[in-house]
Symmetry: C2
Subunit: 174 residues, 2 copies
DNA sequence: TAGTGCATGTAATGCGTTACATGATTTC
DNA sequence: GAAATCATGTAACGCATTACATGCACTA
């Protein structure tokens, strides 16, 4: 059982509590998808792989005729998860179309180029609004779950301020 | 000619000056790769596609026996590029393994979990050092090329400060 | 009874990297 | 003469999304 990119997202979530594939997808979308997305097309095959490898175990929990397979992490799986948690690689891959556009903006008239900065700020604002909408007000997330949520909020706020600052600077300079 | 993800990186670079595939790869690695990577396996086929579509034109500039094909953007290509520059999507895709690890850190003993924050800060530091090493001191990049370079530096500095702040906060709280 | 949510899964397609093959030229 | 750099390209593979197929249960 060779771990791939999805492995840790799925295994990590099952480390919190037993879940079905459907639950996992929902949890990903609710929590980590802005920095680690996963689709059904990855999750269901991965659950099979993880079960074959003995890292998780599934049971058919049938809730009134509706098929539902719930997986829980095994002891072996938990050992693997902890091994990964102790790893120290910090690979970040990013694909940011708005930065790419900014990079090529020198050929545009100054006013339009500055408009791209405003558009970027707007992108941050939308992401911020989205993240805030996820906060269900029930509070009491575990400290590191909360920490990562804060990262999203703080990053957006930083980004908005950065665009403001740079827009002012360029407006003076151009 | 249906544009894909690589299209704009390649076309944008050719919008600055004529280049060979090799040059483009080098330019990507020197400038935009931390938020928009591209490999030979994408660049060479894309150059063919762009040429077939009439967005760029290639000429065999042979520099003493060594084969070298230099491409320049056409008028049609420049129109397309400008159309894209005026677009306002701000899609950001990120895959940040260190954030994923932090998200699942609640099962670790507090000291080890805080170690992950320190590891993240170290990641920012390394990226910052890498970005600074790119600055050849020759200065005088066009304003928006410089802007995006600054973004990288500022983002790393913000990230380092964020990790510091959160580490202090959690140390008090845990 | 229509719409939404729960629930599982696969096939086709596209995106992107890695590794390889090939060979000339320049620099030490 | 060895090593680095310039230069082009492809094949195999892996990663990820999208779209589709299927069907039950709950609720307005």
């Amino acid at each position: 059982m060779q771990p791939t990119a999805v492995t840790w997202a799925v295994l990590g979530l099952l480390g919190i509590k037993p879940m079905s594939g459907y639950d996992i997808k929902a949890a990903v979308d609710r929590t980590i998808r802005h920095f680690w997305a996963a689709s059904y097309g990855q999750i269901y095959p991965e659950l099979k792989r993880l079960e074959e490898g003995g890292w998780i175990a599934g049971t058919d929990a049938d809730r009134g005729g509706r098929a539902r397979r719930v997986y829980r992490i095994t002891a072996a799986g938990r050992r693997r998860l902890e091994g990964w948690l102790h790893g120290y690689e910090t690979r970040i891959e990013m694909r940011d179309e708005s930065l790419l556009r900014l990079f090529f903006a020198d050929t545009l008239p100054p006013g339009e180029a500055l408009g791209l900065l405003a558009a970027r700020r707007e992108g941050y604002r939308m992401m911020l609004a989205y993240l805030r909408s996820l906060d269900d007000g029930e509070g009491a997330d575990p400290p590191f779950v909360d920490l990562v949520y804060r990262w999203g909020l703080d990053y957006c706020e930083w980004g908005i301020a950065w665009c403001d600052r740079q827009e002012r600077r360029l407006r003076r300079a151009l």
